[in-house]
C-alpha cells in the first residue's frame, strides 16, 4: 500500500483516520476528512509507539502491516481514486458524444490481485466506456487497475441518440468486480443541443429562464451578444469563409454564459426546414399579434425581455406557425451543396449563408428584428436559427469527414484575403483588437472559458472552431448535436 504521511490526502488517509479513531488512542486523529494533518500525525505516532514501531508519524510498510494485523481494511473493499476531466465545480459531470477521460488509480487493493473494477451506467441515460479514445465504447467495461497505483485511463461518453433531459439523469458507477461493492459513483448529464421542437417542457423552461436571466431586462450580459452582431461588425462575421467559424464561436460563448447560470442548459436549434409548432407557441418563442408584436403566456420569462433599451420583440410571421417555412432548402439539399471548379468543398458548402441561412432570417415579415443583420440578435430566436446553421455545418463535416483544419477541403480562402477569415486569424471581438481594419470597439471581452475543457482558449483562431469534437487533436469544445454523431 501507498505510504502516507503529513500532507498526504485522499481516501486512503480517510480510512486510516477512521481506523485510528477506533484504536482508543489519547490523540484522536480528528474527523476522517482525508487530510493528513497534525492531529492525524500525532495519533499515528502514538499508534506506532504503542506497537513498538519507529514513531515517525509516517505510515509505511511496517505500520501498514501492524494495522492490517489489527483488522485494518478488514472489510475487503478496494480503495480507488477517480478523477474525471468532465466534472464541473457543482459536482456533476457534463458529457456529450465526445469521449472524456477518467483517470483511475488503485489506492488499496485489499488483497485483490488483479484489482478489477467494472464501470457501468448509474442511471437511466446510459454512458459508454472504452480504454482508448474512441467512438465505439461499450455499456460496461472491466479494467484491471495497476497494483503499483499508476494511473489507468477510461474514456467515457454519452451514447449517440440517448441524451439527458435533466441534470444528473445519467452517470457512472465503479464497482469492485469481485465483491460487487460500489467503490465510487458520479452523477452526470449527457448535455446535448437538441431540436427545439422536441424539447421536454423542463428543458425548454430552463433554457428560457437562463436566457431571461442573462438578459436581466437589458442590464445583463446578453447585451454584449447583441452588441457583437451589429452593422458595424458585419464583415467580421459574414460574407466570407469565416461566417461559419465565427458564428460557432459566438454560440459557444453564449452557451457557456447560459451554463454559468444553469449548467443543465444546452442551446437548442430551430430546424427551419421543418414545421415547428412547439417553437412558435406562446410557451416558447411566442406568437405575433395582429401588428407583429410577439406575445407570450403570462409569466413567460421573456415578458420582460429588453434589448437596445426597449421592451419586447417584433416578429410577424410570413408562414403559419405549424407549417414548414417556404423557400428554405432542405437539410439534404444543404448537405448536397457543391463547390464550383477550383473551389474547396467547404467553399461550396459555405454558400448556405444565402439559402438556407439568409432565407431563414427572411421568412419573417418585414419589420421583424430577425430580418436585418443589424437587429437580428435582439431576437432570441436568432440564436436557435444559428444553432441550426451550425448543426448543418457539423453534420456536413461528419458526412464529408472534414474535421481537420489542416485538410484544405475543410476550409476555404477569403476572396479579399480579409483578416478574420483566414485559418490562423484570431476572431473579433474575442481578440479584443480594435485597430483598423477591425471594428472600433470589442464588446464582451474574451471568450467565456469552460470548467470542462481548455479549448478553444480565450481568443480563439478560426482553425480552433473546425474540429469541435476534438477528433484530430486535443479536447472537444464541449457541445454536440442530437443528430450528429462522432465517428
Amino acid at each position: 500500500m501507498e505510504t502516507i504521511r503529513r500532507g498526504s490526502r485522499g481516501p486512503l488517509v480517510a480510512r486510516w483516520q477512521e481506523f485510528l479513531g477506533n484504536q482508543n488512542l489519547q490523540n484522536h486523529p480528528g474527523a476522517a476528512d482525508g487530510i493528513f494533518g497534525a492531529k492525524t500525525a500525532a495519533a499515528t505516532r502514538e499508534f506506532q509507539q504503542r506497537h513498538g514501531l519507529v514513531a515517525d508519524g509516517v505510515v509505511g510498510p511496517m505500520t501498514w502491516a501492524q494495522a492490517q494485523a489489527l483488522g485494518f481494511g478488514g472489510g475487503g473493499v478496494m480503495i480507488i481514486e477517480a478523477n474525471f476531466e468532465a466534472t464541473a465545480p457543482n459536482g456533476t459531470a457534463y458529457l456529450s458524444w465526445a469521449p472524456r477521460k477518467l483517470t483511475l488509480r488503485l489506492i488499496d487493493a485489499q488483497g485483490r490481485n488483479p484489482a478489477t473494477v467494472r464501470l457501468s451506467s448509474l442511471r437511466a441515460i446510459p454512458l459508454q466506456f472504452a480504454v482508448a479514445r474512441t467512438a465505439d465504447g461499450q455499456p460496461t467495461l472491466d479494467i484491471d487497475l495497476p497494483q503499483d497505483s499508476s494511473p489507468a485511463e477510461v474514456w467515457i461518453s454519452g451514447v449517440f441518440g440517448e441524451a439527458s433531459t435533466e441534470d444528473g439523469d445519467s452517470g457512472y458507477r465503479i464497482n469492485d468486480l469481485a465483491s460487487g461493492v460500489e467503490l465510487a459513483s458520479q452523477p452526470a448529464m449527457v448535455r446535448i443541443r437538441k431540436n427545439a421542437n422536441r424539447l421536454a417542457d423542463g428543458e425548454r423552461d430552463r433554457f428560457l429562464q437562463a436566457m431571461a436571466d442573462l438578459n436581466a431586462s437589458g442590464t445583463g450580459r446578453f447585451r454584449d451578444f447583441r452588441d457583437m452582431h451589429v452593422d458595424a461588425a458585419r464583415i467580421e462575421a459574414h460574407f466570407d469563409v469565416g461566417f461559419l467559424p465565427w458564428h460557432r464561436s459566438y454560440l459557444l460563448d453564449l452557451e457557456r454564459e447560459l451554463q454559468e447560470i444553469d449548467p443543465s442548459v444546452a442551446l437548442p436549434y430551430w430546424r427551419f426546414d421543418e414545421p415547428a409548432p412547439q417553437v412558435f407557441s406562446t410557451d416558447f418563442m411566442g406568437l405575433p399579434n395582429s401588428v407583429g408584436r410577439v406575445i407570450f403566456e403570462p409569466g413567460h420569462p421573456f415578458e420582460s425581455w429588453v434589448t437596445d433599451g426597449q421592451l419586447g420583440l417584433v416578429r410577424p410571421m410570413g408562414f403559419p406557425p405549424d407549417a414548414r417555412p417556404p423557400v428554405i432548402i432542405s437539410e439534404a439539399d444543404t448537405l448536397a451543396l457543391e463547390p464550383e471548379a477550383g473551389e474547396t468543398k467547404y467553399r461550396g458548402f459555405a454558400e448556405m449563408e444565402g439559402n438556407p441561412h439568409g432565407i431563414a432570417h427572411t421568412r419573417f415579415s418585414l419589420g421583424s428584428f430577425i430580418r436585418a443583420i443589424g437587429t437580428a440578435a435582439r431576437d432570441p430566436l436568432f440564436f436557435m436559427l444559428h444553432a441550426n446553421v451550425d448543426r448543418l455545418w457539423a453534420k456536413w463535416q461528419w458526412l464529408e469527414r472534414l474535421r481537420n483544419p489542416d485538410d484544405a477541403q475543410a476550409f476555404g480562402t477569403s476572396d479579399d484575403n480579409r483578416v478574420g477569415h483566414r485559418l490562423d486569424d484570431t476572431m473579433w471581438p474575442w481578440n479584443q483588437i480594435v485597430t483598423p481594419p477591425r471594428p472600433i470597439s470589442a464588446p464582451g471581452g474574451t471568450l467565456a472559458p469552460s470548467p470542462l475543457t481548455p479549448r478553444p482558449g480565450l481568443s480563439p483562431m478560426v482553425r480552433d472552431m473546425i474540429d469541435y469534437q476534438g477528433i484530430t487533436a486535443g479536447d472537444p469544445l464541449g457541445f454536440d448535436y442530437d443528430d450528429v454523431p462522432i465517428e
Binding site: 436581466a216 450580459r221 483598423p436 472600433i440 470597439s441
Partner: protein, 366 residues
C-alpha cells in the same frame, strides 16, 4: 409627404443664414450640440438639420466647417452627416493630408447605412434624378484632397488597400498617374477648434454623484486631490466610436496606469448624460463589459440631483430629445488636483497613451 414642420422651418432659417454675407458666423451655432433649436428633436432629425447646415457651409464658407466636418468624419456613421462633411472637405483650398485616412475609414463605416444624399431641400421623399451617395461624396473629397496635395494613387496605396473595394476603385480610377510636385503651401489643419471650455465653478464639486454600486459621494470627494480623467457618456449611445470606445479607452488607461504604478494616485471617472435611464445596474454592466474595474477612484457616475446645473457648469456639448440624448460630442477632460481643466480632447476620441503620458507627468513631482 409631410416633413415635420419644425424641420422645414429650421431648413428655411439655414437657407436664409447661408444667403447672408456673414454666413459662416450665422451657421456655426448649428454645430453646438446643446443649442436650444435641437431640444426635443430625435437624433436622426438633429442629423438632418446639422447636415443641411454643414452642406450650406460647404457651399459658402468651408473653412468655418472644418471642426464640425472633422468630428463627423472621424466618428460618424450616418450617410447624411458624412456626405455633408465630405463636401466641406472637398471644398477646402488647402486641406491637410490627415483627411485621407479619415475619409477612407469613414467610407468603411458608412457602407452599411449608405443612401442617396441631397442638401438642396430637407425633404426625404425619393428623387430618382439624384445619384450622389455618402460614398460618392467621400470619394470626391478624397480625390479633391489628393489633387490639392499633388498625390498619385501610389502615394495613397496603404490607405486605399484598407478601404472598401468600391471606394478604392473609384479613387484610383480618378487619380492621375502623373502629378505636379507636392505643393508646399500651408495646409489647413484638420483638428476641430471648438471654443475653450469655461473654467469650472467651485460649486460643482459639491454635487452628489451616485456610482455603479449605488454609493453616493460628492464630485469633489471623487475627483479632487489627485490628477483625474473625466469623461461623459451614456449607455444608450448608438455610435460605437463615441461612448463605447471612450469607456473602453478609460478601461485601457486604467490598466496602463496600474502597470506604471499609478493606481490610487489618480482618478478615472465617467459621468452619464442620461441619469434617469442609466441606473447603477446599467452603469455597472456597461463598465464591466468594457473592462473597467471599479474602485474608490474609478467608476461610472450619475447625477440625479442638480444634473442641469452640473451640465451647465461643465459646459457640456450635449442635446436632448424626448427620452434621451439626441447628439453629443466626445468629451474627455483631464483635471488637475485642484479641479482645473488642464486638457480637453476637444471632440476628438481619447487616446490611451496620450492620456497616460499626461497623467504620469501630473503625478511626477517637480
Amino acid at each position: 409627404m409631410a416633413v415635420p414642420a419644425r424641420l422645414r422651418a429650421l431648413a428655411s432659417e439655414i437657407d436664409r443664414a447661408a444667403a447672408a454675407p456673414d454666413a459662416a458666423g450665422r451657421l456655426t451655432g448649428y454645430f453646438e450640440d446643446s443649442n436650444a433649436i435641437y431640444a426635443g428633436l430625435g437624433s436622426a432629425d438633429v442629423d438632418r438639420v446639422r447636415s443641411y447646415a454643414l452642406a450650406a457651409l460647404a457651399r459658402t464658407a468651408p473653412e468655418a466647417g472644418i471642426g464640425a466636418a472633422r468630428e463627423e468624419i472621424e466618428t460618424g456613421y450616418s450617410a447624411g452627416p458624412l456626405a455633408a462633411a465630405a463636401r466641406v472637405v472637398a471644398a477646402l483650398e488647402r486641406p491637410d493630408r490627415d483627411w485621407l485616412d479619415l475619409l477612407a475609414a469613414a467610407a468603411a463605416r458608412v457602407r452599411g447605412t449608405d443612401r442617396k444624399v441631397w442638401f438642396d431641400r430637407i425633404d426625404a421623399a425619393p428623387r430618382p434624378e439624384i445619384v450622389d451617395t455618402a460614398t460618392s461624396d467621400l470619394v470626391r473629397a478624397f480625390i479633391a484632397v489628393s489633387d490639392a496635395l499633388g498625390l498619385r494613387p501610389a502615394d495613397c496605396a496603404a490607405i486605399l488597400n484598407n478601404a472598401p473595394p468600391a471606394f478604392s476603385a473609384a479613387v484610383r480610377g480618378a487619380l492621375s498617374e502623373t502629378r505636379p510636385s507636392l505643393c508646399c503651401c500651408r495646409h489647413h489643419r484638420s483638428a476641430p477648434e471648438w471654443a475653450a471650455r469655461r473654467p469650472l465653478h467651485p460649486e460643482v464639486w459639491g454635487t452628489p454623484a451616485q456610482d455603479q454600486d449605488w454609493r453616493t459621494a460628492s464630485l469633489g470627494d471623487r475627483l479632487l486631490g489627485r490628477p483625474a480623467v473625466l469623461a461623459f457618456f451614456y449607455t444608450r449611445c448608438t455610435n460605437p466610436t463615441k461612448c463605447s470606445r471612450t469607456v473602453a479607452t478609460l478601461a485601457a488607461l486604467q490598466r496602463r496606469a496600474a502597470a506604471k504604478g499609478l493606481s490610487g494616485r489618480i482618478a478615472i471617472f465617467a459621468i452619464t448624460y442620461d441619469p434617469d435611464w442609466d441606473t447603477p445596474a446599467r452603469l455597472h454592466r456597461y463598465g464591466t463589459d468594457r473592462g473597467l474595474t471599479f474602485s474608490a477612484h474609478t467608476g461610472l457616475l450619475r447625477i440625479t440631483e442638480g444634473w442641469e446645473s452640473a451640465r451647465a457648469a461643465f459646459d457640456l456639448a450635449v442635446g436632448y430629445g424626448p427620452t434621451t440624448v439626441n447628439r453629443h460630442r466626445i468629451e474627455v477632460l483631464m483635471l488637475a488636483p485642484d479641479g482645473r481643466i488642464v486638457f480637453d480632447t476637444a471632440g476628438r476620441p481619447p487616446e490611451t497613451e496620450g492620456l497616460l503620458t499626461r497623467l504620469i507627468a501630473a503625478c511626477t513631482p517637480g
